[in-house]
Amino acid sequence: MAEMQNENPTILNAADLPTRLRPTATPKGEYAGIFTSVPLPADFLESAPTSDSEDDNLLEEPIDEQEIYDLISSISDPEHPISLGELAVVSLPDISIKPTLPDVPGSPLQTVTVLITPTITHCSLATVIGLGVRVRLEQSLPSRFRMNVRIKEGTHSTGDEVNKQLADKERVAAALENGALMGVIAKMMETCH
């Protein structure tokens, strides 16, 4: 393996990363704990109503920033076996979702913008990381989404160059034809869950 560029990055604790709080299952809150182990004498045989009632089913949950974050934060860094979330390469405030065509109100098209913060300013792997994020999003988001993956301003010495590369569709397509590069990216995405 080539010499590491940043041997000792700061690591965030996994427990401190932003997560979605699940609405608790019962109105009594999470303290249902030991009390759920004893079932209520069920209204039995009246085929138990499944938990997803009609209301629940109709409630739509749109794709939001947290969901994008969950998709990409578990990608591993190509240098360390540590996730991009823990290295703070991607962070929740640096993700935004906006309508692609704000002038057309009914348009379903949306643009996801992800800003990447490399661990050090001269990280040559920034392009690879950007590419990895892009591939993950392209595989995981519906086709009405447009991706915009960029290096956060002022965090990389050749940020503009990298951004140009990441925005250039043809260059991205060419990179994805490269077997060795795809190998690296596949390895990064092994940890996605």
Binding site: D16, Y31, V38, P41, S51, D52, E61, I63, S140
Partner: protein
Amino acid sequence: MSALQTFMLVVDHDKEEAKRIAEGIAQDIENKKTKLIDTVQSLGEYINDEDPILRGKAVSYLTAVIQALSPKYLSRQQIQVLTTFFCDRIEDGGAVAGLEALQGLDRFNRLLASQVAQALFSNFQDLQSRSQSQRFQVYQLLNELMSTHREAMRNMGDISLLGVVDIMTGEKDPRNLMVVFSILKVVMVEWDISNHVETLFDSVYNYFPITFRPPPNDPYGITAQDLKGRLQDCISSTRYFAPHAIPALLDKLDSTSPNVKKDALNTLIACINSYDPDTVSKYSITIWETLKFEILNAQEEFLSETSLEALKAITQRLSEGVTEVSQELPLALYLKAITKECNEQLQEPQNKQAKPFQQILSCVSSASAVSFILIVQTVVAPIFTIYQEADGIVKQRALLETLNILFEAATDVFGQWTTRGGEIAVENPLLEFKDQFSEIFGQALMGAAKEEVSFRVTALKGFLRLSILRDFFQENEIGLFVQYLDEILLKEESVGRNDLKKEAIAALAEVSKHKPRLIMDITFPAFVATLPEEDEGLDALYLPTLETLAQISVERDIFETLFRRLFSKLTILLQKEQPGSVAYPRAILMTLLYVMQQRNMGQDQSVDLYFDKIVVGLCRDVAASSSGKAKNRILTDPTVLDTLGRLCNLLVRSVSIEKQEQVAENVYSLFTTNEDFAPVPFAQTTSADQERTLIISTYLLAGLSMDCTNRIPQASDMSALLSELVSRSISSTEPATHQAYLRHLALLVNKFLSKQDLPIAEKLFDSLIESSGAEPQTLSPATIRTIFWLSKALVLRLAPTTTHVLTSLLALISSPDQQTSTTAAQGFAILLGEDDIISPTNGATIRLLCRQRLFTTVIPLISSRIREVNIAGTDDSATATKAQDHIKPAHLTALAGILSTIPTALVMPELPTLLPLLLQSLDLQTADSIAVRTATLDTLAVIIRDNGVVVIDQCGHVSSLVTRLLKTTATNVGPGAVNSPRLRADALRCLNLLATHQTSAGADATTRAPPSISPLLPVKNQVLRSLRAVLDDPKRDVRKAAVDARGAWLRGVDDAPEEDD
């Protein structure tokens, strides 16, 4: 022909016969019919023959005769002569074996031993050019000499040392090496090797690392690990090897193969544990410098773990015999090198490399008391300084974590309060910092912002470690911690995922094991004081309090306190005119139930007290309530009765047989006299309240031992009792009561009905089935349920009529009456479904083969019935089939019910029959079929997970399965069709499993079929295209499942044949 000649003729093809000849001669010698000398002389004509094979046979003859002689026969002189003879002839076959026989004799002396050894060394310079078995014989002889005549061998000194080395050099056969290594180890340990250290070391180290791989079906059963073990024993055998071994082993760590590195590390550990501490000390810092690199840049987890183990081993060796701590100790010098770097790295403890250094600290500080003291002296003070200057909470948290590691090591060294024995004479060095710890951790736990959950959790864990560390905190200091925890649980709002509260409860439970008094004195009053008199309103705040109490009360003394406090709360509630919601008394009962389930009540000395209060006392109250004699209606509520019943059930199971008999007499009367309360069965009139007491009766009955049957007054006439229950069950209207009747009936039939009385139940079954009248079969839902519970009782004990019962039940599904058919179909889930009453814990009769029997009886019938319906559907006129529309879904429902209660192992043999049925279940689309489809997907998921795609491919259904799964993932399927979010997610999970389980899980890597094209490949594009649309599902969970499934197909389903890794 002489015996010799016969022997030489047969020896090649008939070993037994040859042996017999030799034994005959030996007998003759012993009986003085012939002389040994004659036997020797008889060899004369062959012994100088030019053909070595002939010579060998002749010598073998003599050997065989000697082997057959009794051990005491040969005189010293004879042995001497024979030894000399064999030594002269040592290169001839059979001579070595002869010597081996001779050296085992009592009269064989050391002089002869060295003569033999000498002969071996000088005549076998070319040993390696001989066959494996010959070499093996030589080593075997040497080995025998080593064990029986070690003294003589040792006295030969360098001659034997070099002789052994010369003779074995170049040996490659694993069987021989096993012997060679053990011979060499003896030389290394017991000979004076000072002049030949390197020769000896090289003779074994040449074999490192062992790369031997036993051939398949190896008859000798020697593994690489056996060889590695013996080689390792040699290398670590003597400290003289240290200058050669340790640098060489450390060099091997440069290897690219993890296995070589692992062997090197393991051997290094063996050396550390075997060489003397002075020698270890000499190399300790060199080893540290090298291993540090392995730990920091661990290629593989196990390499870093083994390296840490080596560092720990060094620490332990250097601590041996050290009684006084000083900085001049070799141990101190070694640790100084380590702590210096640790301190540097811990300047920025939140960075990546701090983690391995924390591991290093953990392993060396837990190695011994002395090492712990030395490390605490150098590490703790700097941590305090960095902590004070730390600019962010992330850094502070990492520092607290480092301290926690030291606390854990302290626990390893000094023990916990409950640890017995092993007291350490030296004082815990952490005591010096006790107040600072208390302050920092207290501040971090209680003073930090409430959102900093993980920081506070870290502080809590540290405080807990110190609180349970033996002889560290005073009672009042632990008390302070307990108060903090109480405050967190009682006063704070929950934040986020509530991790802090969960940890606080766990911490209280942990403290309760060590200091139960503190919990009873501090936590109990505080918590019980917050319990309301009654449930006043909406936000059941008492629930978290009760849950905490339940979780910290598993210790015996604490549980008694809990019981007394809660029982008196309950008693007060039962006396109130306006007791509020029944949820509160029920929660109290559930709390008691929860704790009793955690404890072994049968062993509890106070179980009789609990029995009297709950089983006797509360059952009487239940009886009184049902007759309207109580102040309130708490004990007539079915949910309260159910919980109380479970509590009674558990207690009845835990008490003596005498008490159980007492319960048996009172199952229905509930410990009352006839004037107060009329037991339900056979009562003339019963109110709904009275009927509900049968819930309690059922739980009491379930807990009883089978031997109590004749003590139950009403059970003297089983037939009447069962009929009574059936008629009450059919006519009952309240679900809870109805259920109690059903379970009660099933319980009696399954557990208490004797074998000869079984016909009573069978007759009852038939009469119920026949009550429907002829055509069309129409039964009320209540009747159908009664039939199914009765069947459950019979099927579980595999009554003789099981097959008849099952076919009768299936006939019900085909009823033209839709309601009868549907209700009966749902009933199939009851038959083998888990039940808290009819359970193994309650001693129900559940035969091992009942599941299999049910499955193999019912599945073929369902399958053929569905086929009939399918055929009828294609050729009959529309009107005729209209009436039958419900029959196919109903059969599929029954199938789903059975599958959900059967282990998949049973399902597998029937898969070819079953799979088409499962696919048809997925074709159902309406909302009523959601339950069936969910159960089907569950079954499919298990089948795929356990057996892989192969089994489905073998039935030829991959494509049809995938198409149906994809259809189930769609949101808009058409009018009347519904795919619930759960169904969509389940279908995606099955798709995911297909891609991740392409080879069957059970298949061994070595027996894997040659790479072939995945059966999923033809549908890959279809799946990826369809799933792209599912990525836009309105539900988040479904989208997540779609992302995972799509990822699995993208990654896992290769265009090219899978390559072998």
